[in-house]
Symmetry: C2
Subunit: 353 residues, 2 copies
């Protein structure tokens, strides 16, 4: 990253030494302040001067220094996204939404990933992005690491957060933070209800890590079950948030013949379960109904195509970016919607028939 400032050839070589605003001014025969005016499209510069300056800029290959600009101006147009993951669908999609909105606003986006949810790692990460004079930060608080980072953020840095649900009610963090979230509870309730309506006696649930011990998806699932008077099976907790983990856990779960419907924490898990069903000789949806969460692109092309809850993560990201501005109240993005495809069907009457 360190650029060697020396240039043995002196000023012969136009290449090596980066031109500054003063060089441009000198070349154009105007003060460097006038150059600044031209660059920033400030009024009161004659067309002739403008042309001369632009010509000098082109000739010298001049590019303004971001650092100097930020320093003089007192702020930099940057958002830093604080997240524990950049590859999982929901995270990547949200990040994409933030990026789109930021790009449209001419704001640069930086990423800082949280290596773990250990307090010292969180502290280090937060430390690095907490330059209050620089830009803003958006934290993806979908998991514990994110939630902790959000709380660790100093009150004087401009920030907003995208979360699985409204954490404001549970956190001590200041009002300075702004939030966007999905109504996970309602979404899970609908999905569970869909399965119940199909005639399933009850619905099993495979959980994903959450910001809290009990995630909102789990909460909604339980609520629907209780409202319907169905029994509430024990929640399955795979050893990790991956397809392999879900597959492993499902292999175990599917030994139980009373399991006819499963609500998965996300589509990756659903895929793991579908494979486990295949491994156990179970047909979907005849023997087992599966519902996912997220609606990843692959969901529609699987065989059978996956019934899942669609979330507009990109919109969530865009919204989180907007919340950085002033005068906006926390609000939800478009409600999640259940997309019924082929992986859910009527309950079989009795497996042992």
């Amino acid at each position: 990253m360190i650029v060697n400032g020396h240039n043995g050839a002196g000023q012969q070589e136009p290449e090596a030494a980066a031109a500054s605003i003063r060089d441009v001014g000198a070349a154009a025969g105007v003060s460097y302040q006038t150059v600044s005016r031209v660059i920033n499209g400030r009024p009161n510069v004659s067309q002739e001067t403008k042309d001369r300056v632009n010509a000098a800029i082109a000739e010298l290959g001049y590019r303004p220094s971001r650092a100097a600009r930020a320093l003089a101006h007192g702020s930099d147009r940057v958002v830093t996204v604080l997240t524990s993951n950049t590859r999982l669908y929901g995270y990547a999609e949200t990040l994409g939404g933030i990026e789109e909105a930021a790009r449209a606003a001419g704001v640069q986006v930086a990423i800082r990933v949280l290596e773990s949810d250990r307090p010292d790692d969180i502290a280090t990460a937060v430390e690095g992005v907490s330059d209050p004079r620089a830009g803003a930060v958006i934290v993806l608080a979908f998991d514990r690491a994110g939630a902790r980072a959000l709380q660790a953020l100093p009150a004087n840095v401009r920030s907003s957060a995208a979360a699985e649900s409204y954490l404001g009610r549970r956190t001590s963090s200041a009002d300075s933070a702004r939030w966007t979230w999905f109504d996970d509870i309602l979404a899970a309730e609908h999905a569970t209800q869909h399965l119940l309506d199909l005639g399933h006696r009850t619905v099993h649930h495979i959980a994903i890590p959450s910001t809290t011990s009990v995630g909102d998806r789990q909460r909604g699932w339980k609520r629907a079950l209780e409202a319907a008077g169905a029994s509430v099976p024990e929640v399955v907790r795979p050893r990790n948030w991956s397809m392999a983990g879900a597959h492993e856990a499902a292999l175990e779960l599917l030994l139980d013949p009373t399991v006819t419907a499963v609500l998965c924490g996300n589509d990756d898990q659903a895929l793991g379960i579908m494979r486990a069903a295949h491994d156990r000789g179970l047909r979907i949806p005849d023997d087992l109904s599966v519902v996912g969460f997220d609606d990843v692109p692959a969901a529609a092309f699987l065989t059978p195509a996956l019934t899942t809850v669609r979330f507009d993560f990109a919109a969530l990201g865009r919204r989180a970016f907007e919340l950085l501005g002033d005068g906006l109240d926390p609000a939800q993005v478009a409600a999640p919607a259940l997309v019924v495809r082929e992986s859910t069907g009527p309950a079989r009457q009795d497996k042992d028939d």
Copy 2:
């Protein structure tokens, strides 16, 4: 992003106004230069002074200004990744690798996505990242937009590139750029050979967009076919780089009963084809063998599990980051490997039997 600098309450409120290095110095009763020394772990500062300064820093909640530091030091520890996409598996994974390496090196990572491959969009994007005094840039040159951005990059900005193959031989861009790439040709050759070995008369190919009109995957496929003396079918070009596009194109292709093996440009396309096979009543691998590229996490859990070529994109990203340093020659990352699973099998003797 603009922070309001005024603070009605004056200095009563320790919260609002960001402390500078001078404030810390004043609070600790030393010059701000000494504070700088403490912050940067420079020698020749007494322990007592250090303690006093650290206490003042903690009390004032002081954070150094990135911008000021960058300006004074002449460079900023930032890499900007220039890419046309952040969500597709290969891109996201490579970005992840870059991020890991950068984080380990204490370098911040920024993202700039290319909205299109139109020259003016490329120019705008390149413009924004070409501050030679700031950090370095890594371009993901997997597609045309990326390749163009790479060429448009001024010679005086430190950069490296991750590409589908060694573009150096085709581009006019200076030596200042450094490269990492996979051997796509060989990988495609192996995959095609695998299918041929299974007894397939020939292998059809669905292409993905490339930096050039003929991608290296296509090149390797053709080479294997010719070496085996097999006929070279016309390449299928879906209307876009998505599952839906591949699905659509495959629906058409599979009308042809002579098609028994398909090499897809990537795993997403493979999924689209597998679904199309299902829609056409074809069984995999009995009636049709399918091979993908990338080895996305889902590949192993599909039913049937997908035979595909594994690429270590994260390693590619890490390598691209390393190349930013000095004294390294361009080199390839671990060779791609064919992972044989369930989607490929012996050719059926004759469909019309």
